[in-house]
Amino acid sequence: MAYWEPIRELDEQPLVEPGSKLREVTHDIASVSERPAPRGWWICFLIALTFTGIFTVCVAYLFYRGVGVWGNTSPVYWAWDITNFVWWVGIGHAGTLISAILFIFRQKWRTAINRFAEGMTIFAVICALIFPGIHVGRPWLLFYVFPLPNQMTLWPNFKSPLLWDVFAVGTYFTVSLLFWYTGLIPDLATLRDRSLTKWRQRIYGFFALGWRGSNRHWRHYERAYLILAAISTPLVLSVHSVVSMDFATSVIPGWHTTIFPPYFVAGAIFSGFAMVETVLLIARSVFNLKRVVLMRHLELMNKFLLLTSLLVGYAYAMEFFMAWYSGNQYEMAHFLVNRPTGPYWWAWVWMVVPNCVIPQLYWFKRMRTSIPVMFVVSIFINIGMWFERFVIIVSSLNRDFLPSSWGLFRPTIIDVGVFTGTIGVFFTLFLLFMRWLPMVSMTEVKGTMPQADPHYSPKGAHPEEEDEHDPLPIIDETPMPSTGGLVPEGAE
């Protein structure tokens, strides 16, 4: 079976519209950053920027007065801050998952979305990392969590799950960044080579590291990419497991649960895919990418969402069962009474319905393949997963062992501002990425096209002829400086 042919076992369909040329792919993707930005982009960007502004103001006020400007209280010492953190980290999971695991399983359809997903990972993790940073009482001493020598000659407590978090999320961010950048190098070279202005050329050129598509390079490059994928796979699974240990290793009913690591990972992938879909749908319509992002991809993602939704639902059910089965009165009081009927019952409903009920629509192909439906559903899942974290954190804390210490959490306007603000930050970064970087991996897409196969030859026409009538569209006549070098000829 030829390399480019669809894998019938997976009943695949061609990933790129049959008959598209390599150059068309290059052009579709690369020209996004060369053409002036469409109006749609500007609208989105300005909205996102506004929220980034709100975020900045709220955080400034937070630093000025202290975390008291949030609604956090006793016993609910953690509330929206950590909810948002876990939510964002979860979203950050799809990226590396798609790039790594699907890469290892040779799921070629990933090529359409992996760049997106990776970018999303980076930005989501940035948003996530904001919260541990600003939620502490004395942010200016945050460096105490790192094993650095200090005037107290005291070291961090490596028994603390919170410290595991620091390492896990830190590692995850770094590795995702490396992974993303490694994947970008050849495409950056493409942009460098297509660039018409000196500045574009210099900037892209700088980051392209002088990549020249050399096969001796491809050899190591492919190996490096494979290894990164291989180590990222367990990493993805570990990160949210570690995050879940913040809760699982504690003594609080609702937190002290052994099911958390797999449960959190499933939830993370669930929310991550939902967010990828949301963003992908926007980009697909804003930048008309229907040629590379096919309905086929979206449908596959929806199937994946259905699967993870079932996993998450199983976890919810299991929590209930274990609470009852354990016979522990504190567990039962929490899971069987406080969550469904307590002061935050509505949050519980918001968790169950969007995460377990709504995705069941995807049993039907018509739903799986309807753009409006999947957009709405993906939004619902994003909301539902936020509430899952809210329920786990707030409704577990607000009623623990001693009824005398029970108390309610009531969010403040700053809570809202910071949360919506991070969404602004996320989209600001994302829109910049879509505008200035190839949002689909040109190299990989080309690699999956029939022309990529050395044994392919288009019947009828002889290869040499096809481009005689096809002058290089993007090269004007003016002689260009040596494209690889950052210093043009004669500069010295």
């Binding site: 006793s74 953690w78 005291l154 029970w406």
Partner: protein, 1026 residues
Amino acid sequence: MKRAPNPSVPASIDAAPEFARGHVDTPPSDEALFLSRRGLLGAMAATFAVVGAEGCRRPLEKVVPYTRMPEDVIPGVPSHYATVIQRRGDALGLVVESHEGRPTKIEGNETHPSSFGGADLIAQASILELYDPERSTIPRKGGVAASWDDFEKDLAATLATFDKDQGTRLRLLMPPTVSPTILRMRAALAQRFPKARVHTWSAVADSNARAGAKIAFGEPVNTMYGFDKAGVIVALDSDFLQTESGNVRANKLFAAGRRLRSSKDSMSRLYVVESARTTTGNAADHRLRLPASAIAAYAFALAGELAKNGVPLADVQGAAAGAATGVNVPAKWLTVVAKELARNRGRALVVVGSRQPPEVHALAHAINGALGAPGATLTYASVADPDELDVATDLKALSDAIVANQVEALVILGGNPAHDAPADLGFADKLGKVATTVHASLFFDETSQKCTWHVPRAHEYESWGDAQALDGTIALQQPLIAPLYAGRSDIELLAAMANLPETSGQQAVRATTTEVLLVAHGVTGCSPFDERGDSECRGATGGPVHLHQFELDREWNRSLALGVVRRPQVPKTPTLALPAIAAAIAARKVPAPGPGAFEATFAPCAKLVDGRYANNTWLQELPDVVTKLVWDNAAILSPASAKELGVANKDLVKISAGDRSITAAVWIVPGQTDRSVALTLGWGRKQAGRIGNGRGFDVYPLRATDTLGFVAGVTVTKTGDDPYFFAQTQENNSTEGRPIAHEATLAEYKQKPDFAELDSPPPRALPLWTQADYSHGHQWGMTIDLNACTGCNACVIACMSENNVPVVGKREVWRGREMHWIRIDRYYVERAEIGATAEEPAVIFEPLMCVHCEEAPCENVCPVNATTHGPEGLNEMAYNRCIGTRYCGNNCPYKVRKFNYLNWHNDSVWKETGGLPETMAMQQNPNVTVRFRGVMEKCTYCVQRIQSAKIRAKRETREVKDGEIRTACQQTCPADAIVFGDVNDVTTKVWTSTRTDRRFGLLAELGTRPRTTYLGKVRNPNSEMA
């Protein structure tokens, strides 16, 4: 902060030689130590005043340190001084801790009979009142700032005009006093102005009790209840554990009478009949809710029942039977209670609350007499001021005199009549009718506004004085700091008015004390001391007695040092006049009830008393004993009454008695009497200061001269306005059936002594790892006896004052951010065995601070090692390491960790004034870090006290003695519920206590191995009542 006035420098320096003389002829006794130390202290004062060290305000006169003061005062080593403060009808002996001249902490004085080393929440909080930045700082004439000279001239001139008519048109108004010196001053004033009258008024007084005693014995006497000796106590509308006079002493003795060392011990049984839940009612074994207006009738009925049980009350019985009309109580509450009282002759006690009418008090005296209580379970003592009249009638007399235009000058020393006088007098307006009115007070308050002159009054910790306790003991009040705001004490003002030579408070008090001592020793007719300090007097037998100045010096110094004047006490044995009592009962007239279906009861606030402490942040933020409300009072209703009125919590209701009415927000309390709305005095101040203004609801407008205690027949109607905003520190009242606050009846306890442990046993599992070795050295631990704890809240304030715990304000408490290191959990209990139902639940209190788990969940999760375990078993916080992730707080199953969400000291109640006032910073304990925003904090077992004790022991090359280290909460606890010490040492109290069978570890089943453990509560219900 203001510096000590210059005069203090010479005053302090020339102090030294005077002492030197005393020193010379002193034989080397332990008094000699006092003397030499006094000299030293004087010299120190001088040096401090000269260098003007920050926070150093030495009193002008020499005060003598209590207990062993170091030979050379080292800055940082606090010294302790004995003093006393006046309490309604009583005096509370205190010991004040002072750091370089800054009094910082109040403790009880062990040698004082009203304290026995304990103190209550008001005494603890009074130190903050001293430093209140909103105290009045200058005299004012018509509200305009003036100088003391102006005032003196003005006053002298005014008084001079009265000399000719002997002061007929001069009146003096002050609260009832127990200070011998003030009484002496008043006598002296009476010599200058024989026709001038002194009126006494206080919104909260013991007039009824005095009147009752007058009926029963023909003279007013104080009754000293021996709650420890009583086997059966019947309290009629009496909150003797919290708001009545002598509450600290009562608490001590009551706890002693119920202490259980093992299941073989016995304990007293308390019956309480009351209308609103009180600390005493919460401690009851049997509680009957009855309208306050019906309690008298119950008492009369009980008297009749007693007679049936062979307790002869002679003709009182008949009168009582006649008066016992419309008694509607469960029959058992008469038959069984009477039987039990009769059965416990000589071990029984009947106590009546101060707001019940005099006849009831008189009846109680009769019953106690018949039960053989005098000498056995109670003793009598003479009152400080036999001439004191009923405050209501006395104030009425004054206001009538004003109306009759007989008053030209009125001098008001303390008190706040314009705010708290009975509403029917309209006293505030009448003040305007007097030509010259002078008000000396700590604050420029409602009364000061209405007076022509206001002068700042010196605080009790700033001035000399003395006070006579309930049992007659006289204690001396030493100034611990020079007046912060140039205030003057009542004594000084009276001395000035009476033209007495002794202008300084010290001279006045010393003169009184000398007189008291001489009288006590029967020495009379002394010749003036010659230059060698000798004097000739006549002794008790009439023979000549040689008296040397030094003997008086020694006695004076000893009295200052101990805090009490030692003199032989003559036990008082007044004789009952049963016919008089009968007559009084027969002649009693009950004010006609209004048309309304409800009754309103007025009780002094356990925190603000009559409103005098309204500007005290600690007290404002202290959760109410019953409702756990902060920064407010409320109209307390029973669930049934609330349903009847169709109101819920926070709804506003209009309460009107006749043409007077108030509006207050409702709070529903199970156990409140139906159709009785409980109101607490002292709230809704208009001129209390930034903190106190407009907090809660002013109920004085409902209070008339004849209804100071309660008013029957008021109407309560829902206003329909938006609900009020309340803040509570505990929002859930039930244990939800969780095994967290263990209790049993005495019978159950005797059957199953380890009932508490059995309910929540610690896990029986082998540890997975090698555990830390806590078997060596000191291992600190604590036990709290739930059986002794009455939930009086003294420990909460003691802890705030010792550990610089910040106040966060009403809204932040509502958010749940209160910072109290101790919280007293209050759970309502429904148990058939003790007759506790949903409508009338019993109450169990569980004080909870950090329990210092050996396997502390908080430590595991701190990423920066900011909270770790010390080798002595303390769970320690490194504040400067803490970055505030708050993970420890989440993981604490007890939720005793408190987080500084904001910079509370500056960013909460004092925000508008730009942060915590400097004067209030003076109160803070220099040995305890003041926590900044973003830091987690919690109970430390007063680690600073542990360390200083260890240092002291090391310096003296000895082991730390048991009881040498007392945590702030333990030291102040009037019930001795808290025991702290070395659990590693079998000789300590706490070791014994941890071996008590009632002991249990809170949430021990989690395997946290708490160092603070509890002793289960035991109730003593009467099976016949069931």
